[in-house]
Every structure is written in C-alpha cells, then in structure tokens.
Symmetry: D3
C-alpha cells in the first residue's frame, strides 16, 4: 500500500505555483527571462527556482540579472570556487534546495570527489571553530585588523 502523493511533507509542494513552460510562454516578461536563462546556460532545462520566482516577475528579472552578473560572467574567481562558496553559504543557511542545486552545479563544473571531500572537511572545521569562538567570545587580535 502507498500513501497518495499529497500526503508527503509539505515541502514537496512549494508555497507558490511552479510555472510550466506553457504558463511561461504566456507571460512576455517571464518568457524573456527564461529564454535568456536557456541561452546563457546553453541548455533547455530551467530548474524549479526560476519556475517559482516566475510568480514575482520583478524579483525574477532582478535576481536573474544578478546571478548572471555574479555567477556566470567571467571574473576574478574561477567558476568552481564560486560554486564551493555558494554551497558553503547554502549549507549554513540550511537551504536544502540550494545545497542540492549548487552541489550538482559544482559537479557539472568539474568538482572531483577529492575536492568535495576536502570542501566538506573545511566547512565542518569552520563550523566547529566558529562555535568555539562564539562560545568563548574571543576578542579579535590587533594583528588581524586593517590598519
């Protein structure tokens, strides 16, 4: 016997509708963003994050413009480093969606198992020492301050 799909945790449904491709096609603003996402990423797949944001066209446009500028455009950090930093933030913010999507992105950008293992060691270590420093309220050394 199985439970009907509606029974599973609320989190399998979002607080907003996820837009289908047909619904996207009917909204010029959303359609334009989705086309740019597909063109920029050279892939037809548009993930749920954007399908949820489609309910807020102004937020969708601004967020995609920022993501494109920050994560896609070439910059001073290589793409994999940026994904690792992104996963780190997402993990501490306990964003399950973001951890999954950016871990997948890091793998797509070439992250090896050795790199992932070392990344995990670093974020675990950081969380441990963060907690110790916050618990003991350690004052910052003068040597670390920008003069």
């Amino acid at each position: 016997m199985c439970l009907p799909p509606v029974v599973f945790r609320g989190t399998i449904v979002a607080t907003v509708k996820l837009w289908s491709d047909d619904e996207v096609a009917a909204s010029p603003v959303v359609k334009a963003v989705f086309e740019d996402i597909r063109a920029t990423r050279k892939s037809d797949f548009v993930n749920n994050f954007w399908r949820a944001l489609a309910n807020q066209p102004a937020v969708l446009e601004r967020t995609w413009a920022s993501v494109k500028q920050v994560m896609v455009a070439p910059g001073a950090l290589d793409p994999l480093t940026k994904e690792l930093v992104y996963i780190a933030v997402s993990t501490v913010n306990s964003c399950s969606y973001c951890v999954h999507s950016h871990t997948a992105a890091a793998r797509a950008k070439g992250m090896t198992d050795e790199q992932y293992a070392e990344f995990l060691a670093v974020i675990g270590m950081a969380a441990e020492t963060n907690t110790l420093a916050n618990a003991m309220q350690i004052p910052v050394d003068r040597e670390f301050m920008l003069e």
Copy 2:
C-alpha cells in the same frame, strides 16, 4: 576625550582567560601545541583563538591537529579557496572573530581586492537566493539528484 570603560561591550573580554606566553610555558601539553603552531606557520605570533582554547588542553590538541590536517596540509583545493570557504561559513554563522582572522589569512595567502569583491558578491547572492528558496519551500528538481 574618552568614554569611561563601563561603556564598552562585554564582548571585549572572553568567557575564559587568554593564556600569556608565560602561562603557556608552564603547561607541557599547551606548550607543545603552541610550538607546533609556531613551527608549522613559521611565525612567532599565536592568535587569541589558541590562547583561549589553552584552557581546554584536550580540545586544543584535537582542534589544532584537525586544523593542521584540513587547512595546512596540501590537498585537492588550493589554500586560498579553502580560506574563502572558511570566511563564507564564518560570515553566515556570524562569527566576528573568525571573519576577521580568516579574512586576514586570505589576504596573507594572496587574495586580491578583485577576488574579495567577487567573493562578497557571491555570498550576498547566495544568501538572497537561500532565503527565497526557503521562503517558497521550492522542491528539489529531479535533475539535481544523484541517481
């Protein structure tokens, strides 16, 4: 003119004593760890984090051994990438001490202003999208899952 001392926040003192070099010298366990820190880092400076942990010799030894293995030993990620990931975690955990010490460490390892600017853009972007994804409880795309 100066404000009287009572005005300053409690956080200027730690919840534990910060060990001076004389106190360190009097404890064989702590002394050994401090000597290894100095030898490993090729520097006489030992920062307050270790001077606070000195009150808990077992935690001090284990933590330094882990930090040495994770952050100092050569691995699959370059040292600057690991520092950036460390700052990211520390920022989200709101650890003032750790943000200062690891931003200083990143600079010491060659982080340029351009890299820091891009790093800031990434963590800001990540925090924003984390919050949006958590607020809308977006379900993870099947495409992101490990088969």
Copy 3:
C-alpha cells in the same frame, strides 16, 4: 512500484506522537487548550503544532497563552504585518513547518500576490545586505545610535 510510507524522510514523522482528537479528549488540560484554540479561531481545525505540543502540557498551555496574547489580541500592528514578520523569522530560522503554516495564515488574512512578491524581495534583499555587512564587519554609524 511504490515504497511503503515508512520509507520517506524521517521528517514526515515527528520526534513525538501527534495527538488525535480522542487522545486530546482524554486529557483535561490539553482538552481545555484545544477548546480555546477552536473557540478563539472560530474553526474546528487544530494544526499539528499543537498536537505535538500536547505531549508537554505545561509548554502547550504557556505557548498558546503567549500566541493568543501576541498574535490574536488586537494591538499596535495589524494582523497581516505580524504574519509577515513571523514568516521572515521562520524563513531565516529555516523552519519548514512554520513557513508553511504562517504563509497560509498570511493568505487567510488577505495577503495578495503583490504583497507576497514584495515581501520576498525584502527578505532576499535583507539577507544579502546582512551577509555583506557581517562579512565586512561594518561599524555602526553614530547617527543610528540612540542618544
């Protein structure tokens, strides 16, 4: 083929029993709180939060009394504003249950799609600037301080 219900994520089951109406009826203290919840909300539906708290009658009583005083009684802020603030806190605390229940409550209190879109923009913006300010450890301007 389907997996049997017990297979799905642990989070579909709580760490405590969720009390059924029959179990509630058998405990005078819990029964009284549930009757007050139903009377106050003018609805028969009592959500899982209270069915879980029923295992801790003293916590149940105190928490309901506080919620009633803070969220239900008329005050200086309108009910929708309070729900938006509640969702904001719940999102940053990554409380999936609370995000769902208070987003539903905000909708029930008249939140429009435009208001929700703007709310999402604000919490995303706040999270981004929080992260930037914490990463750069920006000192508070004297102008913001209460004299």
Copy 4:
C-alpha cells in the same frame, strides 16, 4: 580613566576601508551612486554600509539599484512594514549593523514605541515556536499546502 586601545574588540574596524567623501569624489562610479543615494533620500548623510561597499564598485551599483527598487520605490507594502520585516531578518541573521540601521530607519518612518514593543513580542514568539517545531520535526499539515 580610559582603557588602552588594545582592549577594544576587532569589530570596531571593518575588514575594508570606509571611503571618505574625498575618496568618493575621486571615483566617478562611486560618486554617481553616492549622489543618487543623497538625492533619493534627500539627505547628505551616507552611512557606512555604502562607504564599505565603495571598495567593490560593481557590488555597490547593483546593491544600491536593488535597495532603491525594493525599499524606496512605492509598492504593495507600506514602508514601515518593509522595515519591520528587514529588522526581523537582520535580527535572526545576527547582523548588528543592520539591526541598528534599520531600527533607526523604522523610527524615522514613524514606528511608535507600542509598535516596536509588539514587533519584539512577535519575533520572540516566532523564534520560540520555530525552535519547538524544528526540535520536534513536526510534519506540515495538509491544510497548509497550496493545492
């Protein structure tokens, strides 16, 4: 009597230089943003957040454009409600700078002591119930889900 400077926490200095008005005047990009901030807010005062971001002109421009769109432009939520939501997020993210600046902003936008008292009650209540719901891993009621 004053404590010597070495006693004060590292957090009194930022990890980046705070730009003076002279430095701002020497950079066309930063100058343009600062002039827009002053014109938009009808005030000469530009707070430290922007003086720190000035080190990252691209982040400065994008962040100010977003803040202007989200927080300044008229929308579906009134300005005070947006400030309250902003303080809520900043408090949970433990951003001292942001709590101070947005509490000051809320007061400037007319927040009364009664409203602040009620706001505090709501965020305290939310944090308490978030923690209870996360500790008991309460499953989301079907009634809260978007059909």
Copy 5:
C-alpha cells in the same frame, strides 16, 4: 592614550533605553516585576536584559513569568544542565549578550572548568557534524524514527 569615542561600535548602546532603578520605581508594572526578580533570585542585581525589556511592560511580564517557570522552578532537569542547553542555543544564535549572561549563570551554579571544556567540545563537534549532514543531505535512518 585612548581612541576617540567615534571609533567604538554601535553595539555599545542598545536600540532602547536601559531603565535605571529610579525609572523602574516610577512604573508600578515594571516595579512589580523587578521586585519579583530580586526576591526570586535573592539578589539586588537586575541585569540589562530586564532593564531593556522594561520599555515593553507586557513583554517584560510575560517573559519573566516564562523564565521563572522554565529556568527557576524545580523540574526534571537539574539547573546546570538547563544553563548548558541555554548557552548552546545562544551560541548558535550568535547572541553575545546571552552567551555572557548564561555562562556566568552556569558558573554561579557550579560549572567546573572540566565541565565547561567538555561542553565546548560537544558544541563544536555538534556544529561540525550538523554542517556535514546538512551539506550531504543525509536521509534519516528508519531506526531513528518513532514508530
């Protein structure tokens, strides 16, 4: 030599006035709570948390009543265990005030240096494994679920 006052962080002042004993004496509601705090704790000292909450008499009354019931009344957990749990929550929430006040309270209730050292080891360990489990999104074992 001292630094000029402008150098110090905003966090040295609160967002609200801290009530003096004279101000407390002039408000019957606040006065009653303060007298109960002093009588319950058998001490004249009333810490800043209550002096800040005095601005919100309804929140003050409710919060003190809860603290008295939860932390002061005898219960199923011994007082030191409750303080340790309180510090743990406060540390992860990065509440500097709460870490200081409850670490002092734990010491006043007999916490030894050995206990504090072990407590620090536990919270550091927990933070590390939390981060690893969240990063890898590990599914909960069926064995851990309440049947």
Copy 6:
C-alpha cells in the same frame, strides 16, 4: 496511484552515495572505522551519517575519532546532558538528520518524557530571549564579565 520513489523531495537522496556493508568491506580504511563503531557501540547498526562520510575516508576517520573522544569516552558531563546539548545545537542549526539521530540517542540513554518536555521549554525560551537581546542589542553587564 502512487508516485515512484524518485519523485519525493531531493532530501530523501543524499548528495553522496550511502555505502552498503559490501562496499564498506571492500575498503580497508572504512572497514576499520565501521568495525570500531560497531565494537564501541556494541551494536551492528551503523547509521547513514557514517555511510555518507565513507566517501571521504580521511574525514570519516577524523570525525569518528573525535566523536568517540567527545561523546563516548567518560568525562565531566554525563552522557544524557551531552546528548541534550547536542540536540540543542542541531535544532538551531536546523539539521533534521541530527535532531532525529540525537533525540533517538537521548531516549536510548534514558531521557524521560518529562525531561524532554523541560528541554523543549528551555530551548524555546532561549531562542526567544536570544532574539530579543539581539534585536535590542543589549550591552553585556559588567557583572557577567570575567575579571
């Protein structure tokens, strides 16, 4: 009709493979750790956390060594107190896996329903007062500081 298992939330699958006993048997390093876990706990059951960490043998070895030293070896705090502190940290870090596993561990170590109820009251109270103290940026009393 049921959805096929792959459809449920991403979180039912990890970002890494969970090692089966056969896979463990084929890796000497992992096998040794698993044997020590089984011997130390006097139980054949090895939970998913270790099966996920098996992908990173160095992290697995170091983490188990730390857990064994901190949580298993006799110390200054009794085992149940340590589990309660562990759950507290895990709850605030919103680690669903850790909340489930350590709540189960606390029960296995004798936690009564009364103790759990009181524990819940404490963490809820702490989260509430943390939020109030952070929102009002209350300065630490000199009385709480270590002289």
